[in-house]
C-alpha cells in the first residue's frame, strides 16, 4: 500500500468517523445464519434491514414488562406504555432534528405516510372552507419524478383521478440523475405539491434538492421528500433539508416492520384535515359530529403500533450510538469498493451513477443478458441474498429498457468480503448461463 501524505491543516484520513464493523455485526443475530451451506451474505438492506439485539430486546421487554394501551389509562402499565411510546416519538424527532416533537406522526410505513398526505389533500379538496394550499382541482398540478418507488407514484395518480388535477414528472438522465433542466416549466404557479425521492431505492442516486426547494418556495407549492432510503443511511436534518414533509419507514433502519413516520411542519399538519377517523384522533364526539385532536394525534386513529414505535426508538438509539456520519462514510467506502470491483466483471452494466459521488450504497445492474431471476437464484445457492425484479420502480426499468434488474444494497454491517463474495458469485452465474 502506498500512502499519500495529506498536508497538515487539511482534514486527515483518520479524522473520518469510523466504527468497528466486526463489533457491529456481532449485534445482529441473523448474520450468524448459513444459507444453502454458505455463510449468509445479506446484500438486500434497501429492501429491509436486519435488527440488532438491542432492538429485539426492547421489543421483547415491552411486551414482557410494560404492555398496555396508550393515552387511555391512568394505571401504571398504561402510563409506562404511554411514556415509552411518546419517548420514542421524542427520540425520532431528535434524530431528524425536528423543531417540535409534535411534528412526528407515527404511521405503518412510508407508504401509509404518503397516502395520509395525499388523502388529506383529497379531503380538503371536497371542502370549500379548507386551507387552499391543500385544495386540488382541474388545472392544478402534482409533480413527481420518473425515479419514484411505486408508493410515491400511485397515491398521487389516485389523488389526481379523484380531483381532476394533473400529474407531471421530472425525467431521469442516462446517468441515472434527476433531470432538472425543465424545472421552471415543470414546477409552476399551477403546482400544489412536489413529491420526490431523496435517495433512489433502485439507482442509488442521492438527489440534491436545493434548486427544487427554491423553485417550490417561489411558486408557493409544498415539497414532500420520500426519505425511506436516506434516513437510514445518512444524517438527516429536516431544518437543513427545508422540506414540508418527509416520510420514512422503520424496517429499513434497524427497526421492526409496521412502523413508519410522517414528519410535517407543525403549521401544515395543524391546517390539514384528518384522514382516518376513530379513537385517539378526536377532541370531542357527539352523534351528529366530531372535532379533532391536534397533530400528531389527529393522524393516529386507533391503537397505534406501540411496541413497534418503542423499538424504533431503540433503533434510533442504536444508529446514533454507532454514528450516522460514520455509517454514511462506511457505506461510501463500500460503494467505491463495489463500483471498482464491478468494473472487473465482464458484461456487467450498472444502472445509475457509476461514481461514488451523489449516490448511496445501492447498486442495480445487469449481467449480460442473464435474467435477474436467474442471477438471484444462482447467488442464493451461494448464500448471497440480492434483490431481483423491478424493485417497485417499474418506470425506472422502462427508462433503461429492461424488465428487471439485480440489486445489491449495503448497510452498516456490510463488509468488503461480502462484496467479494458477490463478485465471485457473479462469475458462477456466468458459468451456468455462458
Amino acid at each position: 500500500m502506498t500512502s499519500i501524505a495529506i498536508p497538515e491543516g487539511m482534514p486527515q484520513y483518520d479524522d473520518v468517523p469510523r466504527f468497528d464493523v466486526a463489533r457491529v455485526r456481532a449485534d445482529f443475530p441473523i448474520l450468524d445464519r448459513e444459507i444453502n451451506g454458505h455463510p449468509l451474505v445479506y446484500l438486500d438492506s434497501a429492501n429491509t434491514s436486519h435488527k440488532p439485539r438491542q432492538v429485539l430486546d426492547v421489543l421483547d421487554e415491552h411486551y414482557a414488562r410494560h404492555n398496555a394501551n396508550v393515552s387511555r389509562s391512568v394505571h401504571t402499565l398504561g402510563t409506562e406504555a404511554t411514556e415509552a411510546y411518546e419517548g420514542a416519538r421524542a427520540k425520532v424527532a431528535a434524530f431528524i432534528n425536528a423543531p417540535s416533537v409534535d411534528e412526528v406522526v407515527f404511521t405503518k410505513n412510508s407508504t401509509e405516510a404518503i397516502n395520509i398526505v395525499a388523502y388529506a389533500f383529497s379531503n380538503a379538496s371536497l371542502r370549500p372552507d379548507a386551507d387552499p394550499r391543500f385544495r386540488l382541482g382541474p388545472g392544478d398540478e402534482v409533480v413527481i419524478s420518473e425515479m419514484e418507488h411505486h408508493s410515491n407514484i400511485v397515491p398521487w395518480q389516485l389523488l389526481c383521478e379523484r380531483t381532476g388535477a394533473t400529474l407531471r414528472w421530472f425525467p431521469v438522465t442516462d446517468q441515472g440523475r434527476l433531470d432538472e433542466s425543465g424545472l421552471e416549466d415543470l414546477v409552476t404557479e399551477r403546482t400544489k405539491i412536489v413529491s420526490l425521492v431523496h435517495v433512489s431505492n433502485i439507482l442509488g442516486t442521492v438527489n440534491a434538492t436545493s434548486r427544487i426547494t427554491a423553485r417550490v418556495r417561489e411558486v408557493g407549492a409544498l415539497l414532500l421528500l420520500d426519505c425511506s432510503q436516506s434516513v437510514p443511511h445518512l444524517p438527516i436534518d429536516v431544518v437543513d433539508l427545508d422540506a414540508d414533509y418527509i416520510v420514512f419507514t422503520g424496517h429499513k433502519m434497524c427497526g421492526p416492520t409496521g412502523i413508519g413516520v410522517l414528519w410535517g411542519r407543525a403549521e401544515l399538519l395543524a391546517a390539514m384535515p384528518p384522514v382516518f377517523g376513530g379513537g385517539s384522533m378526536i377532541e370531542t364526539v357527539t352523534m351528529a359530529r366530531s372535532t379533532f385532536a391536534a397533530p400528531p394525534a389527529r393522524f393516529e386513529a386507533g391503537t397505534p403500533p406501540i411496541a413497534e414505535a418503542v423499538a424504533l426508538g431503540a433503533a434510533v438509539d442504536y444508529l446514533t450510538g454507532v454514528g450516522m456520519r460514520a455509517i454514511q462514510w462506511h457505506e461510501k467506502e463500500l460503494t467505491a469498493y463495489a463500483l471498482d470491483a464491478f468494473g472487473s466483471v465482464p458484461d456487467l452494466r450498472i444502472f445509475g451513477p457509476t461514481v461514488p459521488v451523489g449516490r448511496g450504497g445501492t447498486i442495480s445492474f445487469a449481467l449480460g443478458d442473464v435474467h435477474p431471476h436467474d442471477v438471484g437464484q444462482v447467488l442464493d445457492s451461494l448464500g448471497v441474498q440480492v434483490r431481483v425484479g423491478h424493485h417497485c420502480a417499474k418506470p425506472v426499468c422502462n427508462r433503461f429498457g429492461v424488465p428487471a434488474m439485480t440489486r445489491a444494497s449495503f448497510y452498516l454491517y456490510t463488509t468488503t468480503e461480502e462484496i467479494d463474495a458477490l463478485v465471485a458469485g457473479l462469475e458462477q452465474v456466468r458459468k451456468v448461463f455462458d
Partner: protein, 157 residues
C-alpha cells in the same frame, strides 16, 4: 438445495435454443387464431401465447416473451408438447404440468405425458419460481379458451 436440480440441462437447452419461438399466423385459413398476454407482476416477466386451431386440433402454438430461463424454457416446452395435438389430449398434458408444479416437489412426473416437461420437477421445490414456469401455460389456457377450446369439464386445472 442443489442448483442443478433447478437448472437441469434440458431447461438450459430450451432457454438457450428455444423451439418454435415467435408469434405466427395460421397456415390454414380455416383456423381461429387467438392469443393471451400474461404478466408476472412480481418480477415483470411477460409472455404472449397464440393458439391456431380448428376447434379440435391445436395446429400451432406460437409465443413470444421476455423473462427468466425458467419461464422462457417453459414456453418452449409448451410449444413442443402441445403443438399438433388434439385439444382434449392437450388439456390432459396441461393438467399434468400444473399438478407437477403445484406439488412442492412431491409429485413424480410421467415422462410419457410430459416429455421434456419432467425437467421442471425440480422447479416445483422453489415456490418463488413456480409462477415463472406456469406463466406460459396459464397464457396458453386463456388463449385456447378464446379460440373456443376450453378444458373439458372433468379436467380441472
Amino acid at each position: 438445495m442443489q442448483l442443478d436440480q433447478l437448472y437441469q440441462e434440458i431447461i438450459l437447452d430450451h432457454y438457450k435454443r428455444p423451439h418454435g419461438r415467435g408469434l405466427r399466423d395460421a397456415e390454414d385459413s380455416g383456423d381461429r387464431v387467438e392469443e393471451a398476454h400474461h404478466v408476472n407482476p412480481t418480477c415483470g416477466d411477460e409472455v404472449t401465447v397464440r393458439v391456431a386451431t380448428d376447434g379440435t386440433v391445436l395446429h400451432d402454438i406460437s409465443y413470444d416473451g421476455m423473462g427468466c430461463s425458467i419461464s422462457q424454457a417453459s414456453a418452449s416446452v409448451l410449444h413442443e408438447l402441445l403443438r399438433g395435438r388434439g385439444a382434449r389430449e392437450a388439456f390432459e398434458v396441461h393438467e399434468a404440468f400444473v399438478e407437477l408444479m403445484s406439488g412442492r416437489g412431491q409429485v413424480t412426473p410421467d415422462e410419457d405425458v410430459l416429455g421434456d416437461g419432467v425437467a421442471f420437477a425440480g422447479v416445483a421445490r422453489y415456490p418463488a419460481r413456480v409462477k415463472c414456469a406456469l406463466l406460459p401455460w396459464m397464457a396458453f389456457k386463456d388463449a385456447a379458451a378464446r379460440a373456443g377450446v376450453a378444458a373439458s369439464p372433468e379436467v380441472k386445472a
